[in-house]
Symmetry: C2
Subunit: 186 residues, 2 copies
DNA sequence: ACCTGAACACCGTTCAAGT
DNA sequence: ACCTGAACACCGTTCAAGT
């Protein structure tokens, strides 16, 4: 007999809680979902959640990690597409979790752990943008400004969810605006 | 004796509650401030708030109206400045209430009344942007896209509060990008 | 190590009762 | 009309107790 009986149980139960929380957070939003409801969906009692997680924000962070990992896994599929198409893809992908976008911003003001996750996510997003734009030959100052603009525009699109045509028009204007800056750089 | 003794009491008490809520929401954030605390600061008991307001979101909307009115009042002061300067001014002005920006987005998902306020605010902001940009001679499709971009960039700056230099760099890149679009319009 | 029953302090909100 | 005391159902979280 193995020394640790069913050694995968811990991870399994934890994963069940995260899966339940993910579905509920995406469907109804973080504030609207109580810890008791998450626990119920994972077939435990509410205080059991605190055996696996420090608090409700820690559950949120586990959900965010899972959602982000899933999206990054799928990113390869469009790696070779046109820049505008890739941006549309990113927004479409993240739009499924648009509730989480405003949740992250709201919780970042209250929870240091969520703020850390948010800051790391921005670094990741900015790094990806930087790679995309490196070849355009922008000045250093403009490059930073344009990366920030790109992130803000994507966040705005996620939070306000316009129709597909408007979304593409905004991203196209963004990219053309950036290309214009590269041409007229001092 | 007047039929209504002290006829201004109602508005006074209401105004006191809004003033207390405004200070607390700006300092500590909507979620972190309980109705009981607002009531305490306005020297009433917590259920008295519900005599003047339908619910906590209604208090938030009254605060938002007050903050917005104050900002619009001050807007004349910069009406003649350069476009980038005006945008910097708007962001600086709204930055004092940056906590409220993410609150509005978070509550818009839960409360129909807050969502209505948010949508009206966007119409106002978009209208002001449209006037600013009318003279640039953008195509209709680009004008809408550029207005959305402008609003998203301002919201992003408010939510992430970068330093003054970064802020100006982003707004400058935005305006130059937009001007570039006008030049190369089809 | 893992899970629970019971409790804690607090939340937004309601309502009958007072003036 | 205006305000309150008391209560309601619920919240995130803690802890001693069980296995």
């Amino acid at each position: 007999m193995p020394r640790n009986r069913r050694p995968r149980d811990r991870e399994e139960k934890r994963a069940e809680i995260v899966a339940a929380a993910r579905r509920l957070f995406v469907e109804r939003g973080y504030e609207a979902v109580s810890v008791a409801r998450i626990a119920g969906a994972a077939e435990v009692v509410s205080n059991t959640v605190y055996w696996y997680f420090q608090d409700k924000d820690a559950v949120l962070i586990a959900v965010l990690d899972e959602v982000l990992a899933d999206s990054l896994d799928r990113f390869d599929a469009v790696a070779r597409a046109d820049l505008v198409d890739r941006l549309v893809w990113v927004v479409d992908e993240l739009e499924q979790v648009s509730r989480l976008v405003s949740t992250v911003h709201a919780r970042s003001k209250e929870s240091a752990a969520v703020r850390e996750w948010h800051d790391r996510f921005h670094l990741l997003a900015e790094g990806m943008f930087r790679i995309e734009l490196a070849e355009l030959g922008l000045s250093d100052a403009d490059l930073d400004a344009v990366i920030a603009m790109g992130v803000f525009v994507i966040e705005g699109l996620l939070m306000h969810s316009p129709g597909a045509a408007d979304k593409r028009a905004v991203l196209s204007a963004l990219v053309r605006g950036i290309r214009g800056l590269a041409v007229t750089a001092p």
